[in-house]
């Protein structure tokens, strides 16, 4: 267990007095895709926001890459190797595609690394390369998701926190994005903590799944086992 990239132990967190997450335990190994599943309001988004420091932790601990993240500021997370693509994608619509992508690499000391990462992202998403100078608000939903993902990749993460990448996208584009995540996992060893409503897509690429209900972990298991567990699917996942 000590080799885990991300180790979450007894995490309790929330807004104001009422906690949203209760005693959450999970881990992500290097290069592993873990899907976080559950109904609306289960605490999936809050979990990601807590991990990246946007929501305050009230109990438990988060260890990333051997370091306790307690007290780490949101601005520092990207320097540790955590890239969070928030719900709704977080494309800065007033900035151009190129500016959005460059924003991902600004934290790096060595700007040559940032430039290399930027070029790689343009290779990965030729559609973005063609729209370098377009403003974010001119992009389609799928392009925005690619941009948000691309920007996270420019920041050179070890772990990607991905919130509902399929939201509002056509099934074909969702499938492309899932395939891309699997590619990144294979080629770069990128670990992903994937929050999804679209359980089938998520379990199709995940190694492991964590099911949340009302802010508590009800099940952690291999993705294949979750797919085959009819009772669980009916009870928590709705298919």
């Amino acid at each position: 267990m000590s080799s885990a990239l991300l180790q979450v132990e007894g995490l309790t967190a929330g807004y104001g007095a009422a906690p949203v997450l209760h005693d959450v335990n999970l881990s992500v190994q290097p290069g592993e895709i873990v899907a976080v599943l559950g109904a609306n309001g289960a605490g999936k988004t809050t979990l990601l926001r807590t991990l990246s420091g946007l929501v305050r932790t009230t109990g438990g601990r988060v260890v990333f890459n051997g370091e306790d993240l307690k007290g780490t500021k949101v601005e520092q997370m990207v320097r540790r190797g955590i890239a969070h693509v928030p719900e709704g994608r977080g494309v800065v619509t007033e900035l151009t595609v190129d500016e959005n992508l460059r924003l991902g690499g600004l934290w790096r000391r060595d700007q040559a690394d940032a430039k290399r990462a930027l070029d790689e992202v343009y290779e990965l998403f030729p559609a973005l390369a063609q729209r370098r100078a377009s403003a974010g608000h001119q992009l389609s939903g799928g392009e925005r998701q690619m941009l948000a993902l691309g920007r996270a990749l420019v920041s050179g993460p070890k772990l990607l926190l991905l919130d509902e990448p399929s939201l509002g996208l056509a099934p074909k584009i969702t499938a492309q994005i899932m395939a891309l995540l699997r590619d990144l996992q294979k080629k770069k060893g990128l670990a992903v903590l994937l929050v999804e409503q679209n359980v089938r897509s998520a379990l199709s690429i995940a190694d492991e799944g964590v099911v949340l209900a009302l802010g508590r972990v009800v099940t952690r298991n291999k993705a294949a086992a979750l797919r085959d567990d009819a009772d669980l699917r009916h009870a928590y996942l709705g298919f």
Binding site: M77, V92, E94, L106
Partner: protein, 292 residues
């Protein structure tokens, strides 16, 4: 015709200063969504610093630099000590705090420097060159154009060509996302206030010698013109601020020349009302209507 040409040049040189001042308002609006009603008082404070330095050293330019430095510092202090703690749940809160700040700054200046008018020198002659019998521009007017032009050009370069400018824009548009990407949003906000306050101080340095002189309330009327300029331009747009400044300058000049100097400030207020009623987003704004 001669009068028209004269008034046009006069209006443009006044307008350039309003443009710089409106730019300061736009900078803070873009960074913090606050209309900084204390901008005028902050600028006067910086001009008083210049006045002290120039009186002590005899050098206008040392005073000029001191005003810009004081402007930067005052921007940092106002943001860190006051504005950071304003509750943003209602847009009026920031306005009320800024108005309170005006009273505090003007009160302190009155205590320190007294409330009489101090004449302020200009670095260049204000005697206009005459071409074909029409007084067009003075050396000082040219200095004003050059200074405002330099500010507009440097701000444009800063925001569009540098990493720090990209950070500032991102932090203003999407604070949470920017923090996730490692941008120090609080730092960018402070920097925005500092820059805006320095630009406001420059405008103060340029305009005070052309008005009655230095006084704690010297910028009050100028502020109204500059605010109108910023609103005409749409508060969000630097190009709009500059254009708005020139429009207000021309309006003041034409009304003073053709109608009556005493009604010129009323014409500015009328323009403000007309723009707010007819096109509340400003002539250059692409965003939705503002709430404050």
């Amino acid at each position: 015709m001669n009068q028209f040409v004269y008034l046009t040049f006069d209006g443009l040189s006044r307008g350039a200063v309003y443009a710089a001042f409106a730019l300061a308002l736009v900078l803070i609006w873009r960074a913090a969504r606050i209309v900084n009603f204390a901008q005028g008082a902050m600028a006067v404070a910086a001009v008083y610093v210049a006045y002290s330095v120039t009186s002590a050293t005899g050098s206008y330019w040392l005073g000029f630099v001191a005003a810009l430095v004081a402007g930067l510092a005052l921007g940092v202090i106002v943001e860190r000590v006051v504005m950071r703690f304003v509750d943003h749940s209602s847009p009026l809160n920031g306005v009320v705090v800024a108005l309170g700040l005006v009273l505090v700054i003007q009160g302190v200046l009155g205590i320190v420097y007294g409330s009489e008018f101090h004449p302020v020198e200009t670095p260049f002659s204000r005697d206009a060159f005459e071409i074909g019998g029409i007084a067009l521009l003075s050396r000082y007017d040219l200095f004003v154009f050059a200074a405002v032009g330099a500010v507009v050009a440097s701000l444009t370069l800063l925001f569009t060509r540098t990493p720090i400018g990209l950070r500032m824009r991102a932090a203003a548009f999407a604070p949470d996302v920017s923090r996730l990407l490692g941008v120090s949003v609080g730092g960018m906000l402070t920097l925005g206030w500092a820059l805006a306050s320095a630009v406001g101080s420059l405008a103060g340095m340029l305009v005070v010698p052309t008005e009655l002189g230095l006084h704690p309330t010297a910028m009050d009327v100028v502020f109204i013109s500059a605010f109108t300029a910023a609103v005409v331009g749409g508060l969000d747009s630097p190009i709009g601020a500059v254009t708005g400044g020139l429009i207000v300058g021309l309006l003041l000049s034409y009304v003073s020349g053709y109608v009556e100097p005493t009604v010129a400030p009323m014409a500015v207020l009328l323009l403000l009302v007309v723009v707010l009623l007819g096109k509340p987003g400003g002539l250059f704004s692409s965003s939705k209507a503002r709430v404050a």
